[in-house]
Symmetry: D3
Subunit: 330 residues, 6 copies
């Protein structure tokens, strides 16, 4: 297995890290993609308590687990999103404050800068997360946004994220933005546009979430081929498209476990993704980062599933030939 | 041809009605689905000038055109949408006012009530339009809305639309809400839910827009079968799905004529819709209303296209057997 | 148009032939495929009244209609079917008699012999029809029939049909058996077997009913290629497969116009058949017989449909090159 | 593995139960779905010999095998089928008697009542089997059955089965009727109709046989969703659809191992069924009964196959989350 | 109809131009794509007889036919092909000479230069044709060609064609090379490579032959999008893919009319091409050249077919909007 | 596992046989399909050194490896191919000589005869290889070959190969010609034709290479059914079709590891082949020969892949029932 198989801890924040890490090691994982909520990784403590980050690393090291990636999806969402009540549950109290949008965005930005510094302290070089988006709500609605509105949205995104990316550059940290509905980019062409808006600055690349591309009709293989140098992190989770004439891809506001939806998140290998093609494309792109299982399958017990998922990813991953092999025959 | 073929005038509001109507008659249309913008149908004038509505009818009658449907998509959008700059271009100045959201919503509601009364004056019994939606922006984004947030959104919708529907009931007018992205319902199950929220009150039914169902993966035939008594109006326009691995169904904020999109509106018969199945389902549902061509094809000259579309719809439509035919053989 | 386009009158037996023929001529048909029920063609009268057949021909000739095919599906069904109440409605009283199965089968055989002779009097050389089957009910049921049971069924078929085919041979008439569910053959391999059981006697060939092959998953083009010399007649009607996860191909005993069925007969050109491929295969097979529209579409008015169908078939049919054309270029 | 994996012994009745049970235990099965033919379970002995049923249970218990289901497909077929020679091989001599249809049906009914009582003695609470059908032969044949004929067939079914179901009720036994070609119900809508005809009495539910739904074009997932409370037993076997333009779904009377057929029974996991979807739908329906392997693969050695099948089902089955899991993230 | 509909005369060279032109005009064509064989256009006469080209133009003008394109597929094939007996039938005697390969290639080059000059005399600005290829025979064979072999083949192509393209440049003529099996480019990526090898010189572009792209699995729409400025001519002909498990895409050396082939040339509109998409892509690319019907359908009489094809192309073609239309609604 | 799983050594000729054999045994292979290049099997030494063949066998026997098949693809290619520079790398110097085509072909024929005799010495009874082809380059090119050209090509093939096949007959060796692009037969119908040209002489049969059939659109199952008695050897390798609108099946001269190709060779089980169907068809055909892994996957490390492939084939293969099993139930 050429790449470390991680468990992304974001779906397990109800458990204490100590327990979760022990389980993950037992299931066979080689490391954790730590989330910045629950007790998994607390940014302010990491910055203010000298022993915090080393203690985390020590805990993991005893279990022979790596921690090459830190994830901050919740706070990053608030940086350039129009803030509303839904964000309260995502944010620490000190970021939410009185909930007045401008202040929340400002404090979220500061917290992200702190997160970059904390990541640096932890010794990771990839920070994964979202962006939020001032224009997401216009994506399919009515009236369609004018060209100017889209451009203004991108400008705002650049304006709000540049200070964070500056600190990334300073600390040698790459920000692995997860291309995802609800964000400034969610498909191949919006991802192109975002890179362009940032003048392709190197600190900013992508977390590949193939499941959310697949149900949109996009082939993750084409995405990897388009951005071979910008895949900074990979989430492994699957998706099943379950169209039957009545269900729809927009999901009818139904929760993930409702069979009337048109697509469903699934444990790795139990949906419709072409993992063979994805791994080959990652090999061709020279991706050498981690493969992090994001557990999200409302129809399967997560304890059974997380262990299976780890085995699945290990079986899936394979080595390309050491160099362009001379084709001896045919 | 059992059903009148109309031209929906919303895409032609840059032309004066007088000219457009003459053209439509020449192209073979049997009537118009008049929009409430441009000079096609001005609500306030219709209510205040005794001769306004009769003059419109007279104009059409001279061309042997019917006017069985009135359309008010622009103002209706503002009734329960979160208001922003995009709405300014949709609304008459007297509705936009100072643009403060609460006031705009209030004035939009009043304008819709006026529109119902004006429709009554015009003698139509179907008013078509949108709803806007307080929860559209949450449809695919992050974080997913909780059950409570969705329910609250529906309650707000009911609260804001009930006064308008009361006047519909009073005037004998059916509101044909177009199930469409950006609205309170956009697919089969959200449409179920909206009917339920309104206690299935009879004034409220649907404008079938099969194109926007199709690209979501929903079969318009199943939609018709699910709501046979609630199809109050039908828009005829087509859609082509053009996925190639890179394009996506969410459209990347690209305009309709950009080939990188994953779906494209098309002239009737030039996309992927199963019109045969749709007409048979409308026949089975006993739908006897109009079929209104909504012109929306950024790749085709609209003058050439509108005439072709009229012919297409006439060729498409056919009579079911007069009664349950005794099957004479086999 | 190289081949005559006929209207098969079986679905119109509630109308008097005189009226129907006049309509058919007006719709553009070039002839009729006359059924032996209603007043369209009465076998016993044709045999006993010298003027009967000539009068029919005269009626058609005045309308410039041909009558190259006679059809006897109803009586032929009773020749080797297990007789039950359903057959009563199919048979003339003098064939049904007291309904005791052995007698009914015997009288049906005699009536078929009479039909061959009557066809000869009428001057046609193709008689179309069914066979019935002693083993149809075992086709998918439980327990599966043993090899011996199937062979015994075929022997019975041969035994019962040989006397009729003898008279066909005597009169120069080809029997165009319609491969169809409920009959001794219903698909490609059962058709092979039936020809084999009859030692491929020349009087016995097939009416191609592409619709009933299609929903079974069989390509009519392959059927034509397999039996190029045995296509003696062609029925033109279409079929739509409407599977949606709940509907099934066996049809749930639902009538043809129930949308819950998995397939539906349709007017020609309005279903899923590859007519282009069928016509090319007929051309390649050298088929020069008629193309007879069998009207069977429970969702469409038959008066509108029959005219459209005639135009469809004329447009569909085309000439192959006069001889193996020298390919001048590429 | 949440559900017991059984071997249905019906395909192994040529072996003595003692041997078969030992093998099954060795292969890893957790129980048997005992058939009432061969020496596996003899109804009359069970009723008359006090030690018979306990001895069977004892045999199984020594091998740590359960016996939660009894199967009586052969006799149940004769209860309302039109009786012919094929049934002789299915029935014990004392049920066949002189073979006169009315008597056979009567004795089959009595034997089924005896079977219910014997099942009760054995301590099972699910009895699986067929029904036979007075109208199966009309399903696709000609002429189509009238509405009245279908209704009469259902009434006869209800009439003949009610006495048996009364005894089921008395004994606390559920009858798991296998929806299957040849039976009173064979697809989703005929299953609806049968439940309706029985006023949805609780003793009567279904054995899910997903393979026979699949080749008809029906999605077993939709079947489970339609009848979540009526899945009383599940057979695990697969099917491959092998259409190539010439083969057909009705199978041409060819045996299962003939490659010219359009579908073929296959060992579990070696055909086209979506087992992932089926297990999730069973989980969603709360099905907690057994999963019984029905061995039926004419292209594979059954000794090799039965062991593999057991492993396949164990690997397939998985636990849903303990309760509606709070979705911690996204 | 925005673009002239031509008949490419290459498939009709057995007829005298005078007759063919009269027929073409009657069928509705607006011009001819003249081939340089038969008596349609004789290069040496055009260069040496002052009245030859004017007389041809005069003939066409009397029939109101244009002649905007000249085609020289046969001689162009010999420019860089390995010469063998098959070429003899393609070439005038004075080009074939003694058939020694080097001499034939040299004389073919000279004849092509003469053809460019003759085209100039005729007043056309598009010359269509092939290239031949030194490496075609390696395309799928064994052993695969090394990178060096492919590069050497391209160099040879450039070397041989440069003198011809120099004269094109001098005369203001664009060479519309038909991307086609047997040529230096036959798919999208080989076309890229050829343009690159020629340093994208402007005289060299493509004749789009969508049929030969389609059966290779390539979407002609993607081809047009890749080379919007290089589509210099368009051939309209269709293709049907007829795979059935036994037929193959390489065609088994079978002639076009053999049903065992895996693909078949077809009259326009009678195959599998997405003409709607092709026309829209040509519109988007700003292609304003001709649409030339290339008749090649071995299953259809060419007299019937050529007329139908003309109507088909006229119906197919349509105008894009005059300018980027302001989207008035939605 | 009923059939021996071999490793075809042709793709490993850069390794010494001694090492390779040891690895193969360790990976689980049961034998080798030895190639006649590298040091794996040297024909002239085998014929002239008494101990050569026995020593090879001894080496394998010590590792418990069989050697039932010898492969001579490289020299066999030159027997009736038009010789060019590409062949130099394939041939031993003593066969290439001065490279003059006629001499090379002659010496290749002699070397093939020697190979047959050497195979006999080694004790194998299957010799696998290619044929070359005088007409391959015409397969899709322009101009199409006339019927006469194809027949002449076949005659030349028969002429050149008959001497070799005579020696096969003499030695009791079957020649397993690999149906493959670049050869005299490459699909089902060309394979038919070659057998016919050879009067179906028994020494000549096929190596099944399902991957090269699949991307041509041919079902390997149909190939096996068509030639059940002529499958003399089987290569196990897979292929992925990766069409995306731009890539094409002819491959653009791109190497196998270029993602722009339309198909890619893949490790067994990692492509699109229906192995289940292939094994069942081989079982039905009674094939009892070897299954030889041909390693050809430019995206996977061959050391990891070869071991996995061996396991894959062992898992894949299974026993058919010992005899036509009596179907005990249903």
């Amino acid at each position: 297995m050429p790449r470390p198989v991680l468990l992304f801890t974001g779906s397990w924040a109800d458990q204490r890290l100590e327990e979760l890490a022990a389980q993950a090691a037992e299931w066979g994982y080689q490391g954790l993609d730590l989330c910045c909520w629950g007790d998994h990784f607390e940014v302010q403590r990491a910055l203010t308590e000298e022993e915090y980050a080393p203690a985390k690393l020590d805990l993991l090291r005893r279990l022979e687990l790596e921690a090459p990636v830190l994830s901050s999806h919740r706070v990053s969402q608030a940086v350039c999103d129009p803030i509303d009540e839904r964000h309260r549950a995502l944010l620490p109290d000190y970021v939410w404050g009185d909930g007045a949008p401008a202040g929340v965005q400002q404090r979220a930005t500061e917290e992200m800068i702190a997160t970059v510094r904390a990541a640096h302290k932890l010794g990771v070089n990839v920070l994964a997360g979202f962006t939020g988006s001032p224009i997401w709500s216009y994506v399919l609605g009515y009236p369609s946004p004018s060209k100017a509105v889209v451009e203004e949205g991108l400008r705002e995104f650049v304006h709000r994220w540049t200070p964070i990316l500056e600190v990334c550059q300073e600390c040698g940290i790459r920000y692995a933005f997860e291309v995802h509905p609800g964000q400034i980019a969610f498909d191949l062409y919006s991802a192109e546009r975002v890179l362009d808006a940032l003048n392709e600055r190197e600190e900013f690349g992508f977390t590949l979430d193939p499941a959310h591309l697949h149900w949109q009709g996009i082939d993750p293989v084409e995405f990897i081929r388009r951005f071979p140098d910008r895949i900074y992190h990979v989430h492994v989770k699957d998706v099943a498209i379950t169209l039957n004439g009545r269900s729809g891809l927009l999901g009818s506001y139904l929760p993930y476990d409702d069979p009337r939806r048109g697509w469903h998140p699934r444990a790795p290998g139990r949906g419709g993704l072409d993992w063979e093609g994805i791994i080959r494309a990652l090999n061709a792109a020279g991706y050498s980062g981690a493969l992090a299982v994001e557990w999200q399958d409302p129809g399967m017990d997560r304890l059974q599933g997380a262990e299976e998922a780890c085995k699945f990813v290990k079986r899936l991953d394979f080595e390309p030939p050491p160099r362009a092999e001379e084709q001896a025959f045919r």
